[in-house]
Amino acid sequence: MQAPHVVQDFPTGSAAAGPGRPVIEARNLDLVFETNDGPVHALSNVDLTVNKGDFVSFIGPSGCGKTTLLRVIADLETATGGSITVNGMTPSEARLAGAYGYVFQAAALYPWRTIRKNVALPLEVMGIPKAEQERRVAENMALVNLTGFEGKFPWQLSGGMQQRASIARALAVQPDMLLMDEPFGALDEIVRDHLNEQLLKLWAATQKTVVFVTHSIPEAVFLSTKIVVMSPRPGRIYDVIDCDLGTERSLDIRESPEFLEIAHRVRDGLRAGHAYDE
């Protein structure tokens, strides 16, 4: 779909075998939930390609299936029609292979574990040796600027810090791909801006593929290399917008004409997809 993107501007390590190759490919994807009130068409005829190193945002109003699509990629839901591959495998195989780290709407930290033990949770599940666990916890805590809070329990941290801890936890499994479901939706604007900047730096530093669900237009435009505009009833993709604002973005970029132009197109897409009919 879209050839050059930011990641290629970075010196690539051994992990970057073939940046730009598709890691997620969905064709004619359908998902129907059977509910007591009859079937609900959550996803209809979704075609999507996510390339390695992309930062892709799904944006749309509630009920447009953006979270459902992310959950299908993560094998937390199963599509009822069409095909989808993740890293060339079925989502279920990809999940078993540890292809992704998932960040939920809430931090979902286990309250009885300290932050250190929360970040180590996936490593314990995977049976990784203690020394390696400690190394990865320290590394990822530093990456999200939480060094020094290892011994705290989740309730002792602010909402933003909790969400950062959950990002460290997702990164600890060393996935090539981060799936993020409105991770900053519950945070206030200032914390959200700050975390957006941090996430962008993290993405640039680690060159991971990120799939990001949001309902904030500025957030989507600020972060993404590709914005997928979705609309509800049935949940479907309305538009895919390439968005390349360069690698060195600061929050100031949101005042620039390029930014406003893309934001305008996203808003038009949302409106045309009848997203504002309620």
Partner: protein, 296 residues
Amino acid sequence: MMSELFVKRVLPVVTVVMAIIAIWYASAVFMNAPFERDRAARADKTITFSEIVPLTMNQDRPVLPTPHQVVTEIWKTTVEKKVTSKRSLIYHAWITLSATLAGFVMGTLLGIVLAIAIVHSKVMDKSMMPWVITSQTIPILAIAPMIIVVLNSVGITGLFPKAVISTYLSFFPVAVGMVKGLRSPEIMHLDLMKTYSASPSQVFWMLRLPSAIPYLFASMKVAIAISLVGAIVGELPTGAVAGLGARLLAGSYYGQTVQIWSALISAAALAAILVAIVSLLGTWVNKRMGRRPEAA
């Protein structure tokens, strides 16, 4: 700080205790007075109220013993008797306590095992849960003698049959509490485990069990108190020779109301101590598991 603690914590408790003691004394006078009036009438004497009051305080076999009589009896049968003596309340309390603790441990383990089975198997959920609930609709006074008699007939006597009755009562709150606790993890916490492709046993040990711990201690508080009731009830039908239940029974055979009340108060105090121990243990464990202090 001290005075605030006093006003908020100590004063309400002391006030209630004082009120209970006052009501108790008043009731003792009221209930024991007819006996004194009868005695006076038999002796062809008239007796005034102010003469009755002191007499009602120190009868040998009062309808309602006064608090100081009960305290004196408890003092005599605990501090002043050797613990090996058949007349020592500590000896009897220990007999009941040992059955209580054995029953509590068995009941808690049974409750946890049942809850794990019910949570992990639809078949168990459908087939066992109704029986678990039915078991508690049978009056314990009806089933306790049968358990004692049946076990006696196969040669099992002493502590174990009583512990079985305690188990029968105490497994229920634990089973119900643990089913709720093991099902308490949020969907998001379960989804997280799925993203790690965790095995069912990993989900159990790392998520379900820790989530259930607060529920476990809440239900164990109920279970330990009910275990004591079970052990005492288990001592009644066979006319057991030792234990708090036996003291209650012997006291009622011989009209020893002071003995009944001192056994009763001791049982209540024992229950309070046991619940407090479980409660402290729960607070300590929850604190270690990072529960917010004010929520504990």
